[in-house]
Structure formats: C-alpha cells, structure tokens
Amino acid sequence: MADLRVNFCGVELKNPLTTASGTFGFGHEYGEFFDLSTLGGIGVKGLTPTERLGNPAPRIAETPSGILNCVGLQNPGIDRFIAEQIPFLRRYDTAIIANVSGSTVEEYEGMVEKISDADVDLIEMNISCPNVKCGGMAFGTQPAMVEEVVSAAKRKAKKPLIVKLSPNVTDITEIARAAVAAGADALSLINTLLGMRIDIETRRPILSSVMGGLSGPAVFPVAVRMVYQVRRAVDVPILGMGGIRTGRDIVEMLLAGADAVAMGTVLFADPLAPVKALQELEAWMDAHGVKSVRELSGAVEA
C-alpha cells in the first residue's frame, strides 16, 4: 500500500491532492458527488475583505483543452466565510486552505491577520490581483511589489503562508525568490494565464471583462515548466497546479518539483476526477514500487 501522506509546511495532508481555489466553491456542490474527506485539502473560493459581486456574464469561454474565466472574485467576504463555511468544511477530515485576495497591501494584511485566527490550516495568498495603488498592475508581476505585499502579510500570519504566483511574467524564478525572501512559507503555482476569445458572429469578446484567465489541460506544460524552474530556485514547499487531470499528471507535477498539487478546471468536465486521479496515483505507485509519494517530489532527472 502506497503511502500518500504529505507534510506541507507542517500540516499533515492525507494525500497530495487538493482543489484549486475558485473551482470548488466551498465544497458543498462537489460534496454531493464524493466524500470530501477523500481530499488532502480543499482550496476554497478566493476571499476578499468584504462581499464582492463579481463581473457580469459571460464569465467563461471555452478554448482548446482549456477555459477562460473572469468570475471577478465573487465571494461573500471573509467574515461570512469564517462564520458560515468553516463549520461545514470542518465536518470533513481534510485540510482547509483559505485563499485571500486584496487590492491593496493593507487589505492583504487585514485578511491574513483575520484568517490566522480562524480555524483553517493553510493560508494561500493570491497575488495575481491588480494593485489599485499601482495603476492596476498585478501585485505578482513585479518583484518589488511581491516583496512588499508578502512581507506585510507575513508579519500578520499565524498559519503557514502560501504565496500563489502568477504565470504572466518573464521570469517566474525572480518572482519566486522575491516571495521567499519576503517570508513565504510555501509557493503555489500556477494561477491562470491571460487569454482572450472573440465571438466572431457578434465581433465582441466572449468574456464581459474582455480578457480572462486561461486554465485547464492546455496550460499543463507551462505549469510543469514553472514548477520545475521554481523548485530549482527556492527551497520552500510547492503546491503545483495548472491543468492536472489524471493520476499520471499528479506524478508528473510531483516529479517536476511539487510537494502537493491542486486540481481545478478538470472538475467541470468530471466531478469525480479527484477520486479517479487518487486511485490512479495509488495504483501507479504500487505498480512502480514507489512506497511514498514524497519520493516523487522533485525527482525528475535532468
């Protein structure tokens, strides 16, 4: 029997598979399809200081082996998450990964402080958000902004702080180094790639926000590459994501350098994908005599 347990920043995960923030709501819906305790952890919808309504529809467009989305961080706000959702999630034997987003450094600080006192296991800080004080440029695209926002947040963090990187950068290792220098306990990547589709009949962008985030299997090779690069650049645990579909994809992401992984978009195609992928992972490990999933992390020979 393969040992799937992973220790991620001091948090014991029963297996390396978590769900990607924003694709899994707060777990209720997929909980109708499988037991949420099957998962190593649940990444919840990105939270903001107060309720956010999100963008108008359409918020999704299909692309070859992927999707674009522009949900715009619709969420009930961190307080209602803490009050209403944590008790539900705690009924399951799985780690809770709270995902926080902000539009100023102060917002991030406040969120991290607040969520640190709530009953969650890990804090994931999404820095792909536009910095309203910097002309809307995403925090995660400039090393200086990364340092600033991560070090501010880290000072308030009483739980392990995962910094989630944007892939829309020239050099992901530079950003990873900045985040780790500023105190990130772990990194997660990749968030979505910026993309666009146009409805040729109406000649209008499909998404209400014109451009949106690309995710799904299409981005898997980009995600594997970035995890590989980041693994070689810094020394903190990595939560790898971007297009993971199967148990084999999990193995590949682990080999590239991830310590744990998250699955998102593929759930829309198959709500049982996490259960199947875990079975495949275990069967693959047994067939290959891999005793612990930890042996796989970063084990690519290159």
Binding site: G22, E29, Y30, G54, A57, R59, E62, T265, F268, P271
Partner: protein
Amino acid sequence: MSIQENCRVVANTRLGEGLYALTMHAPAICAQAQCGQFVHIACGEGNLLRRPISICGWQGDALRVVFQTKGEGTKWLAARQAGDVLDVLGPLGHGFGVAALGAKPVLIGGGIGVPPMLQTAKAAKDAGAQPRAVLGFRNRGAVILEADFQAVCETFVTTDDGSYARHGFVTDVLKELLAGATGVAACGPKPMLKAIAALAEDAGLPCQVSMEERMGCGIGACLVCACALKAENGETRYGHVCKDGPVFDAKEVAW
C-alpha cells in the same frame, strides 16, 4: 441531489434542420427529475466543457432532450446514435414551480426554449391545473413538438414570418390569454422573456422564466453562470443559472 450517470442513447431523431430529439436510458436522473431542470452533457473529447440542455421530458427510465446544433458540442451530440453512451450530470438546477402558477397557467416557449415547457405542461396538468401553451418559432422549418403539446393541452403556435400557423409573436397571443390566466412560465430568448415578464407584471400575475448562461461546472461551484438579479438594496447581485436557476421569479431578474 445531482448524479453522474452513463446513459445509453435509445434514439436520436432529426426533427428538422439542425434540430434533434435524443432519448436516453437514464433511470437515476429520471427518478429525481423535475420540469424545467436541465442536464449537463459531456460532448466528446474535443470539448472540455459539458453542454447544458433542458430536460424536455421523461417516461419511465427514458429521458428526452431536444436540441439545436450550434457549435462543436451540439454537432457532436447530433451525431450520436442508438447504443452510444453519454456521460450526463443531472438533474440540475431549480425548475418551474407549477403550484405557484395557479389553476390556469400560460406556458410559453420560444424556439429552442420550447422543449422544457412540455414536461411543465404535463406537470401542471397532473397537478390538476388547466395549462395552455404558446409556442413561438422563427418559421415553419423551426416548429417542434407541436403535436406533443397538443396531446397535453390547448396549444397556440406562432411564427415570426407567418410561414406557419399564426403570424406574429408569442406575446401577441399572451396578451389575449392574460385575462383568464393565473400565472405565466416561459423559456426562450432573453428579449422575449423580458417582454413576457413585463406583460405578466402589468397583469399582476406570477411569472417564472428560465434563463440561459454559459456554464462551467453546472452545479454551483465555479460561479461563472452569473445572472443579474435585483438585490434587496436596489442594486444588482449575481445569482447562478445552474443552481439558483435556470428558473427564476421574473420579478427578481435585473433585466
């Protein structure tokens, strides 16, 4: 409770230019289905996302959907044959509440919005009401399910160009039926729904509308299928077509 079911295709019949009626063996979904709900169908390896299609009706274990080909997904579906197996999620969403529509509901379908109204008509009738149906189509070639409706209730058909039945819009008929009506339910293009909602509101009748939006998960987790609703504070909030809908109270919708 949503279910993932592998459903064998029983028949896939061409109803007209780009129009198909597909019946599948779906015991678990049929056992729970309600009128106005939908199913989310995986449409081939080339398409990552499932396609939402309204439930047109069911009989025993046989679930029927009626659809129009639009892009790759529905074209793939049109090519399915008896014996093929479909990966289906369902039944999904909130359907029509026939009880709230009273004893004399008017049920309106426009174009490819017609199918879900059939089971709704049956449900209303089974509940003891006297439904009437109004079905609007672009032209003669687009007419579907007329006989099916007539077998259930009094049915009025219109075509935009007058090439079949009454020349005009469903709203023309609705205006004439409002007097005796106790409620209105509709599915079809948004401008049609908006016009119907306005007529029902003027007449003081309850009105339920089935909305459409592009979907991801289909079950309420990804929040992409936003439908603008009126918030209590007068502002807009977003409901979700797949879970809060597809059927909404017309008064709630921010048109």
